[in-house]
Each structure stands twice: as C-alpha cells, then as structure tokens.
C-alpha cells in the first residue's frame, strides 16, 4: 500500500521528462519571435545595435533549440513506452495531430534553422530574414498543434468510442482540433512563452546594467536596448496574460468544475463563496485546513458576480477527484508570479516617466530576480492543469490507470534513474553554458562566439577579411 506503484512512477517519469522539455520550446517560441523582431528592426533601421543583439541572442537560441530538439524526441516515443494503452486508444485522434505538428512545424524549423544560424553570408539578407521568420512561425505552429492535442485531452469532442476495442474514432476533425478549451490554452501558453523570454532578456540586461554600475563604466547600447525592450514587452504582455488566465478560468469552470474546486480548495458547492488565499487542502478529511479567506471574492473571480455558484469537490465521487493539495499551491505560485511580473512592468513604466529607468538599481535587482520567474510560473501552470485533469488522461472518458503500459516497476525505475541522471548532466551543462553566455556582455560589432572562446583551434577563427558576415556564421554556437 505504501510502496510506489509502476503507474505512479510512469507518471513521475513522464512529468519529469516533459517538464524539462517544455522549458526549451517555450524559450524557443519567445526567443525566435524576438530574433525576428530584432533582425527586422536591423533591416529597417540599419542600426548596428539590433544586429549586435540579434547575434548575441542567436547563439543562445541555438543552444536552447538543440536541447529542445533532443528532449522532444524522447516525448514522441514516451507515449508508447509508458502509455501504450492510452496510445492504442487515443492514438487515432492524437497521433495524426502530432504527425501534423512534425510535418508543418518541426521540419520547417529544422529546415530553416541551418540557414538562420549559418547562412547569412550564403543567402543574402532578405532570404535570411525569411528563414528567421519561418523558424519563428514554425515554433508557433508547433505550439498550436501540441496545444490542440493537449486541450482535446482536457475537453474531448468530435469522436465516437469503438465498442469492440474502446478506441477513440475521430468523427469530426474540426471539432477535435477546435475543442472548447483550445483557444484559451493557446493564448495563455503563447503569452507565457513571450513572458518567459521577456523576463530572461530583462534579467540579462539588468545583470549587465548592475555590473556596469558596479565597475563604474557606461553600459553598452545593446544592454540598454535589450533591457528597455524587455520591460516594454512585460508591461504589454503581463496584463494581457492576467486577462487570458481569467478567461481560461471561466472556461475551466464550465468544462472541468472539479479542477476549479481543487484549485480553489473548495469542498461544498455554494453561492457567495469566499476566496481561500491560503490553506492546506486535505484530501482525507475533505476540508481545507488553516484557511485564510476573503468573503465573496471566490464567486466574484470565478463567476464575475457576487452570488455566483462555485463548485465544491464533495460533488465529485472520491475516486474522481484531482489532488487539491498539489494544485492549490501550484496555482497560487503561478498567479503570484504573474502579479509580480505585472508589478515589475509597472515599476519600469513608472521609472521611465520619472526618467531614472536605466539608473534605478532596485528595478534592475527586481528584474534580475525575476529572470527565472516565467519558467517557474509556466511549470506550475502545467502541473495545475495536468494534475487537475486526473484521474483521467482523456477527461471524463479514459482513466490514467487504464492508460499505462504493461511494464513492471523495476523496468520503469531503472529508466527513471537513467533519465534523471542524464537530464541533470546534460541540461545542467546546457543551462550552465547558457548562463555563461548571458553573463558575457553584448558589445558593439558582436562577432559571435569566437571572441569568447579561448580554446578554439586556430583553424576555425575567421580571417579578418571575412568581417562581420562570418560573425553571423559564428553565431551558431
């Protein structure tokens, strides 16, 4: 009873690998768009600073992208290794969407990534910019397909169950793709990716502003521009994200009331419900301990009216309840960080108006501390929505316990250990490299990595005559 089961371990393994994976595509989605904007600005204005920033972030993009690719290959096979029953039943619906993602997005990204990274001197500016845009569009298409798949698991429709095999038979693909929660999730996720990158870029800029101040030198143009762009992005997107999150909440209330009840730590359905700010939901005793409540706010937030009905978990049979203890907290961390993002953006705006935007060390410290906040919020959001979907894989239809592969505990345990070790080594090294690259200041005439790379063999240094074009080629590393 107390031992861990193969099912639980299969879930942890999937959660672990997908959580690592999701960080890199989110980073790529946001950063590719940023790179397209930078290159576009450079082409339009001809200002060196945009080219410098483009090259600086392009190197970082290459590393992040490669980690996304390799951790993503794992995902496309893990459905089968860990969730073979799920794959056999839901494969007819989800498999084609995944295959469309590969054909419309992955190939597009991979095909033009080479040109984007290494091709500036081979294809000319216009075509190179096209490649950058195609990579960015590819990341967005990819996100759309994966969100359509995931949303279908949350709000399934457009299928019939084959009585003989229990398989999901697609009947209406438009309904499957444009399922009720898809638009809300897509917007929420897209904005989250942009916020992640805005916060990373902002933190990088803030780090260099702080360091320049400490060393008593003037920060480079590139540093100021990246910091400023990131803060504009934040104040534009953070409020939108709060709105998007709110509408997704309303959508979830309509289709997955049990998830909302678990998020809120509410046990009985009632109108004029309070909002529980803090507490510890207890799944056994069916109550939320140490609750700190604000009267009426729960109804107001969830239904936008004071006496709207808010669902309670007791309405749902015990066996069908998601784990409130977990998602009560992950949800609050996400929301809290979202508020802090908005606060950071607003603080930046205030200081712009005051004219001390580049000088105020508190803003920079705040921005630096918020560097990883986007990713943490993203992961917490995902835990909330996926754990909130339990105990189902396809909400209300297929249970997680009926989805798992017939693999014994020792097998999953062994592979789990292998995944953990490899992921910490590889992605630990990757993150260390990324941080080191962001720790190097972007400078005028950014020529790519050769400058920062003392161990490079002589033969791979660009000759002086090749000038900045080679800097682009070098941008890849």
């Amino acid at each position: 009873m107390n031992g861990i089961t193969a099912l639980e371990l299969a879930r942890y393994q999937f959660a672990f690998t997908v959580a690592f994976h999701i960080l890199f595509p989110s980073f790529s989605i946001g950063l590719a768009a940023y790179l397209a904007v930078l290159e576009g600005l450079w082409l339009k204005t001809g200002k060196q600073v945009f080219l410098d920033l483009f090259q600086y972030w392009l190197k970082i993009f290459a590393i992040g992208f490669s980690m996304g690719v390799v951790s993503g290959i794992v995902m496309s096979y893990e459905f089968g290794t860990n969730w073979s029953q799920f794959s056999e039943k839901a494969g007819p619906v989800l498999g084609p969407m995944l295959a469309y993602e590969v054909m419309t997005a992955f190939f597009l990204e991979a095909g033009f990534l080479g040109v984007m990274l290494f091709g500036m001197q081979r294809v000319g500016r216009g075509l190179h910019f096209t490649a950058t845009c195609l990579v960015s569009i590819g990341t967005l298409i990819s996100m759309s397909w994966i969100l359509a798949s995931n949303s279908w698991m949350q709000t399934p429709q457009g299928y019939a169950i084959d009585p003989g095999t229990g398989r999901f038979m697609p009947t209406d693909w438009l309904k499957i793709i444009f399922n009720p929660s898809f638009p809300f999730r897509l917007v929420h996720m897209g904005l989250a990716a942009f916020l992640c990158v805005a916060l990373v870029v902002g933190a990088t800029g803030a780090f260099h502003l702080l360091r320049s101040a400490r060393l008593g030198k003037t920060p480079t143009d590139a540093v100021r521009v990246m910091f400023s762009m990131a803060m504009w992005m934040l104040i534009a997107v953070a409020p939108l994200q709060i709105l998007a999150g709110d509408t997704q909440g309303l959508n979830t209330l309509e289709y997955q009331p049990a998830k909302i009840a678990a998020i809120e730590g509410d046990w009985t359905t009632r109108g004029r419900a309070p909002e529980i700010l803090f507490g510890i939901p207890n799944m056994q005793t069916e109550r939320t301990d140490y609750a700190v409540e604000v009267p009426l706010l729960g109804s107001l937030i969830l239904t936008h009216s004071l006496d709207g009905k808010v669902p309670g978990l007791k309405d749902v049979p015990r066996a069908d309840r998601p784990n409130s203890t977990v998602i009560f907290f992950t949800f609050r961390i996400m929301v809290g960080l979202g508020m802090l993002m908005f606060a950071l953006g607003a603080f930046g705006l205030l200081l712009r108006w005051r004219g001390t935007f580049y000088e105020n060390a508190w803003l920079q410290r705040f921005a630096l501390a918020m560097g990883p906040a986007g990713f943490i919020a993203l992961l917490c959001g995902w835990v909330t929505t996926e754990v909130g979907r339990q105990p189902y894989t396809v909400y209300g239809v297929l249970r997680t316990v009926d989805s798992v592969s017939p693999i014994a505990l020792p097998g999953i345990a062994t592979s789990m250990v292998a995944f953990v070790i490899v992921y910490f080594i590889v992605f630990g090294a990757g993150v260390a490299i990324l941080l080191r690259m962001m720790g190097a200041e972007p400078h005028y005439g950014e020529t790519g990595p050769d400058v920062h790379d003392p161990t490079r063999t002589a033969g791979t240094h660009p000759g002086p005559a090749q000038g900045s074009a080679v800097g682009h080629a070098g941008g890849a590393q």
Binding site: I73, P96, A110, G114
Partner: protein, 340 residues
C-alpha cells in the same frame, strides 16, 4: 472490408517505410561521423567533420520524430506494442541521441580542454550507442514480438538475442561506412584520404554482414522464407541480391579512384535501400511480426485519411526545402568554412 479500409493501410505502410528510410539515409552518415571520432582524434579534423553536418543534423533527426508520430497516429496498435516490448533499447537510443545532439553545440562551447574532450566523447558514444540500439530494435522487430490481447506480453529482455545484437553491430558498422563515404564527398586533403582508407575494410565487413543477416532472417520466422523462395515471387525479388552485388563492383571501383567523390556514398545508400526493401519483402504485411499485420494495427480510416491529405502535400514540400538547405550548404568543407 471496405476499399478505403484496405487501401489506406497499404498506402500508409509505404509512407511509414519511406519515413524510416529517409531517416536512415539522412541520419545514418550523421551518426556514422560520430562513430568515426573513434579513429579521428585531432580536434581540428573533428571540427571539420562536425561542420559538414552542423546545418542539417536536426532536420535529419526530425524524420525519426515523424516516424514515431506516424506510427502513433496511423498504426497505434504497433506503436503501443513495439515500444513497450523494446523499452530498454529505445530508452537507451533516446538518451544516446540526447548526448550526441547537445554535443554539437556544447563541444564548441567547452572552455577547458577536459570539457571539450568530454563532449567529444559524448558525441562519439552517443552516436555509437544510438546506432547500435537502432540495429538492435530492428533485429528485435524482425525476430518477432509476443503480443496477447493487443498488449505486449513478453519479458523485459526478450529483445536481447544473438540476432538482435548482431544487427546492432551491423548497423553501427554500416553507419560508420556511410559516415566515411560522406566525408569522402564533403571533405578534402588528408581527412578525405583517410576516410577513403576507412571505407574499404568497413565495406568488406558490411557486405559480409548483409549476407549473414540475409541467411539468418528466414530462420527466424518460416513465413519470411516463403516470401523469397516461392515461385513466381522469386522473379520479383531476385533483382534485390543481384543489385547489391552490382553496387559492390561500382563501389570498389569508385572508392579506389581518387577522382571520384560522391559515388561511394551513393553505392552505400543503395545497399541500405536494397536491404530495407528486402526487409520489407520479408515481413510484409506484418508490422509487428508475427502477431499484427498492417490492417489490424491501423487506426480508423477517418484518422488515416485526415493525415494522408497532409502527408501528400507536406512531405514533398519538406523534401523540397530540405534539399534547398543541403544546396545552400553544398560543397567541400575545409579550414575556411566555419559554422562554429
């Protein structure tokens, strides 16, 4: 059975086979390069080797993802039985691909000699293990998978047999040969001369192993034998071994002629293509030998048709811009070409 329900799985079996073949053709030399790190120690030469594939490698690996996704959507029963059955080699392959994939970037970023050596090793070991596991997966699939009630019903180590290990070895050597021939085409100078030298013994081993696997395979399932030695089918399948032999002659002439650069690679790709065709002839119409055929494994026509519409349009487009990417980065890679 309706016509669509009969035809769609056949069409999809061809597309899935093409996807796997595209993966082998494109990623084979890519992994082979990594395996050749075993004999190429000089760091400058290693840079050149990596630079020959740096702009295209992740596109190459995307075919593997497409293969997985197609299996998932089109033959879900195959996806749901093969992957649990081959769990250990598949996980090992995925982890190995992670190591070599990130090594592309990390090895150039290493700021100490030791770290650089470490990522070089991870590039080599990752490539070798991925290649060997792919061979083992192939061998395990050919020898058969035990299925009951649509679920894998065998043990944890069913995949581990002399035959699957032999296939793992064969694919590793085969990829190394592809890698050597790729370098003959894309490099010059000393590195090219050495690559030519590696290719010869590797080719001898590969041809020997093709013969051994060809004789061994029919022993595994009696059905396989019938596909090759029953009249009149023999007429249709006879060209396969004949063509392999023909390519051996062309290969040997081109690899010893220093003015020829591309032909050896094409010959080896031809061998891979023919072996793959031969494998298809053997296991058709099974997709999980000897339990599940392509019709049993299929998702409903509504799924297969939906995806087919996209595949027919998109796969040619993908091939088009993949070719474009190769064309942009065409030509010999030398000291003066720096992608990193």
């Amino acid at each position: 059975m309706g016509t669509a329900a009969h035809l769609l799985p056949v069409v999809w079996a061809c597309i899935a086979a093409f996807t796997v073949l595209a993966y082998i053709v494109l990623d084979g030399f890519d992994l082979g390069l990594g395996i050749l790190f075993m004999v190429e120690h000089e760091s400058h030469d290693r840079d050149v080797m990596v630079n020959t594939v740096a702009p295209v490698w992740d596109g190459n690996e995307t075919w593997l993802v497409l293969g997985g996704a197609c299996l998932y959507g089109v033959f879900p029963l195959a996806y749901g039985t093969i992957l649990p059955a081959l769990y250990p080699p598949i996980v090992a392959m995925l982890l190995a691909l992670i190591f070599r994939g990130v090594a592309f970037e990390f090895r150039f970023k290493a700021h100490t000699r030791e770290l650089r050596r470490l990522w070089d090793f991870s590039f080599f070991a990752g490539s070798l293990v991925a290649a060997a596991m792919q061979g083992i997966i192939l061998g395990a699939l050919i020898q058969g998978i035990k299925v009951e009630h649509d679920q894998y019903a065998g043990g944890w180590f069913d995949w581990l047999t002399p035959f699957s290990l032999f296939c793992g070895f064969a694919v590793s050597i085969g990829y190394a040969l592809l890698g050597a021939c790729w370098l003959v085409w894309r490099t010059q100078g000393e590195l090219q001369v050495r690559s030519r030298r590696y290719a010869k013994p590797l080719a001898v081993i590969v041809i020997t192993m093709i013969v051994v696997v060809s004789l061994w395979t029919p022993e595994l399932q009696r059905q396989y034998l019938r596909h090759w030695y029953v009249w009149p089918r023999m007429i249709y399948v006879a060209p396969v071994p004949v063509l392999v032999a023909g390519l051996v002659v062309i290969f040997w002439r081109s690899i010893t002629d220093e003015t020829v650069h591309l032909t050896p690679l094409l010959c080896v790709l031809g061998w891979f293509f023919l072996c793959f065709t031969g494998l298809g002839i053997s296991i058709w119409p099974w997709i999980v030998p000897p339990a599940i055929d392509i019709w049993q494994a299929s998702s409903p026509p509504s799924s297969q048709l939906f995806l087919l519409v996209g595949a027919v349009i998109l796969i040619p487009v993908v091939l088009g811009y993949t070719a474009y990417a190769y064309w942009v980065f065409r030509g010999k890679i030398s000291d003066e070409t720096h992608y990193h």
